[in-house]
Symmetry: C2
Subunit: 177 residues, 2 copies
DNA sequence: CGCAATTCAGTTGTGCACAATTCAATGCCG
DNA sequence: CGGCATTGAATTGTGCACAACTGAATTGCG
């Protein structure tokens, strides 16, 4: 029966001046939550790694291909918006997909700063083999669809809250200096 | 109103012989789920990165320190069990924590294969500054505690299901060869 | 006992994540 | 039009994740 001393939300216990028993417990709880999310993300990656080996894709490469299978062609910047990734991650990743013959890259003619990634015939054809991926994942885990969709919604809200919180913390940090 | 054609669980649609409209939709849904989990994990890391900069810790280093703050001393192997990490990740990470003066490492006398990580005085003292980390995260995001604990439980079940599924897929792969 | 299989930490190599920087192309404002 | 801030991609450097491998210590079994 842990945390019975806790009123409602974590945010309620914000102005404690010194370390208390509650602090110790929240530090432990923090570890459990961080660990759970981290571990789930990596476990997901681990299962996909095995399933995707047939296709010659890594998990992040698969995510990029999913975006391109849906849209056919897209600027690097917009891929980054979809996947929450920056150019430092995407540039080398896209270069590897290009080396594998799955995509091509070309500068936009309208805006020469922008680079558009486009599926090659081979890249588009790979989709036919990829459609079995969700089946294999589903078969291996027996997920309940409604619960998974619900989990996705919660995680998306969590991500939005976390991203919104970063500027606050950076402001607080700047104020200290 | 998507996926109305779907009966109950993803696992039900396992024996489709060829790609259907449903396959296309599940491929899209798969992307949304993978992306949500990935993005949430990285967003978490991003907020912690900002908050932990004061302590001079990265997010994975913080997770290791949380384990050690709770247990004081622990073999590398057991840290790996707690955090679901292998020696290839932990060895260099622990070496950096040692270089920072937060932990020491020594071979166990009972079993010389095992290396035990132990908090230094400085490492133990850092805990006093770390107790404010959950407060700052909570204050920045305003999380509801009960919901977070529920999410943690779901994620832990997910991780267990995913980890259990990997050997099945590896067996399937071996059978193809 | 003796040796084969296992266990544990560490190393190597590949790829992802992200901060910080660079550079060219673009947009904007006077 | 000219100059200056902004945007987009790429690069560099650091650190994490993991597969594959090495080598030493231990365990277990004949």
């Amino acid at each position: 029966m842990p945390f019975k001393f806790c009123p409602g939300t974590l945010a309620d216990m914000t102005e404690q001046p010194t370390a208390t028993h509650a602090d110790q417990d929240f530090l432990r709880l923090d570890g459990q939550i961080c660990f759970a999310l981290n571990a789930a993300s990596r476990a997901f990656g681990g299962l996909y790694r095995v399933v995707l080996k047939d296709l010659g894709l890594t998990y992040p490469q698969y995510l990029v291909m999913l975006v391109l299978w849906e849209h056919g062609e897209m600027p690097v910047k917009e891929i980054g918006r979809h996947l929450r990734l920056d150019s430092g991650t995407l540039s080398p990743l896209l270069k590897r997909l290009e080396a594998a013959g799955l995509i091509s890259r070309e500068r936009s003619t309208q805006d020469e700063r922008s680079v558009r990634a486009r599926l090659t015939g081979e890249g588009a054809a790979l989709r036919a083999r990829a459609v079995e991926v969700p089946r294999r994942i589903a078969a291996a885990t027996g997920f309940d669809l409604t619960e998974v969709v619900d989990l996705q919604a919660r995680l998306s809200r969590l991500t939005a809250a976390l991203d919104a919180a970063v500027p606050m913390e950076e402001a607080r940090e700047a104020q200290e200096a």
